[in-house]
Symmetry: C2
Subunit: 324 residues, 2 copies
């Protein structure tokens, strides 16, 4: 991959008459925001660019402009197809045929695992979001104006993939681009509110249950919390609803290790382990048939909740003592 | 106030032999981060600069470098005293004497309400954080290098006062400065974690109680939650522990109005009202002797919790209906 590939993609798009823009399934703020931004830009210069989706726009992204350019029933044939923010071609789902039927297949992405086949592919793993790449392409190689609507889409793309400039993938370039986008006068406060603050009934209920279950061991150094199968089933919980719940314990003052147990099937638990400073939770997880990294690991366990907690607590006590 | 004032302050500091830097009482990330940054910079060029504090460094800020420059028992007399991020001179507390005893009194701030008396005062209300002003002063007028330690202090100042670049005071200049600070290689991910993710026992308990109390009315458009006096007393809750709890209801999907009641004394409630899109909660609050803005208002009420909720719900139902 070289910068020339991005220039070549820009050239193809500049000349195209019809473009199908395809973000990955389970679309997120980066994939959809970038797709809409590009569609808005292309439609402003006599190109018919559609964003192809097979799903509803997530509620948290329903403030994004340009949604009139989303097509659920695409045309049979587009001159150009563009794979966006997607490293795995199977995540185009039913749209794969449209992709393969196009005269020219393009791909723009930032995932290190990208192995999408395309006539021209550009992957920049240093970009915190695909939105950063498309911002550069629009301004440096296509000379297209970044309107307020386009800016709001790209800003949303960037905050989504950087956790609001907090994740370690954020770079000075990210900050510079975000600043340029803000100069158009976008309501960035609202975008942050929509992306980060909205909470579903299911999430609120599961957070509450997690907090209610929280127990502290070893002078507050180990936090244990859990969700029962009945909790999860009663709200038909999705994966995203339980993401991050292990951090409630981890963020509590004085806690070094947080253990969160999710009863995925009756009697079957998925365990998540997080540490803050010195305990190697990968080693703990390995003793229970799991694995991971020093600060984030996981395992699965069958049996009685109390027994699992006791066994884990014993193992973690040893790790905590290793430091003292 | 003109830019020349900031240049003059820079000149005085460049020539000073001893400087007492004084952030406001109940020091926060902007006040302390900016103070430590400036102290580190001045001490690097043959000036003795102390940061005067009358309180402990808050736990969430104990990762800041330069804390060896904090003095609890200041010298009797400094050549220069500098008031930082503080618009109200009484918030210097016992340090006011040191301030008034100095040969030259300086003040740098960004609060619109600033009325601090000083020989040279610079107030820039467009700066999201005082840290932005001091960054400009160091780089543009003092020619001092921004080391990684200084950068971490200033970055922390900026994220504190902008809510991590989310509040409406954030500007393209904020983003640019943050990007420059990140170029020094600071661990900005950890700074964000320290400032935004750490949670006290009291806060966790009160969040849990608030969630447990949550009730929905009018097809989910009104969320009501509360904390009892006994909840607050049992954790010796501080003001900061209950800040933002009204947003739990506000952020829930489908909610237009969130009412949060805090029993400050037995039988005496402080009510917070927030709305998302169309209800004017100031009008609702006014009917109960309070006031505020369209989207954020408050009031106090005496009596039985159930009666207060019923009266408020009636008033809010009328406002919700006004839209339908």
């Amino acid at each position: 991959m070289s910068e020339q590939d991005l220039k070549n993609i820009a050239n193809v798009l500049s000349m195209a008459q019809s473009v199908a823009i395809m973000p990955h399934l389970n679309v997120d703020g980066d994939a959809l925001g970038t797709s809409l931004a590009l569609a808005l830009a292309l439609n402003s210069c006599h190109c018919q660019a559609d964003v192809l989706l097979e799903e509803e726009v997530p509620a948290m992204l329903d403030f994004l402009p340009g949604q009139e350019l989303i097509k659920k029933a695409p045309k049979d044939r587009y001159q150009v197809a563009l794979n966006i923010d997607n490293g795995d071609i199977t995540r185009l789902g039913g749209r794969l045929e449209v992709y393969n039927n196009a005269e020219v297949r393009l791909s723009i992405d930032h995932h290190a695992t990208n192995k999408v086949e395309a006539d021209i592919s550009f992957v920049d793993t240093k970009a915190a979001a695909t939105g950063e790449i498309v911002y550069r392409m629009l301004t440096q190689y296509m000379g297209l104006p970044v309107t307020q609507d386009i800016a709001l889409c790209l800003y949303t793309a960037i905050i989504t993939d950087t956790g609001g400039f907090r994740f370690s993938n954020t770079t000075p370039v990210t900050m510079e681009i975000a600043g340029e986008l803000m100069k158009t006068g976008i309501d960035f406060t609202n975008a942050n509110k929509m992306v980060f603050d909205r909470i579903s009934y299911a999430k609120l209920f599961l957070m509450k249950q997690t907090m209610n279950s929280l127990m502290l061991f070893f002078n507050g150094k180990l936090a244990v919390s859990y969700l029962r199968w009945s909790d999860l089933a009663s709200f038909n919980a999705k994966l995203e609803d339980t993401e991050g719940l292990v951090n409630i314990g981890r963020n509590l003052e004085g806690v070094e290790v947080s253990l969160f147990l999710k009863e995925e099937k009756p009697g079957s638990f998925k365990g998540s382990l997080r540490s803050n400073q010195y305990v190697d939770v990968a080693k703990v997880a390995e003793r229970f048939g799991g694995g991971g990294h020093m600060r984030a690991a996981g395992f699965t366990a069958e049996g009685d909740l109390e027994d699992i907690v006791r066994a884990l607590a014993d193992a973690i006590r040893a790790s905590l003592a290793g430091e003292a």
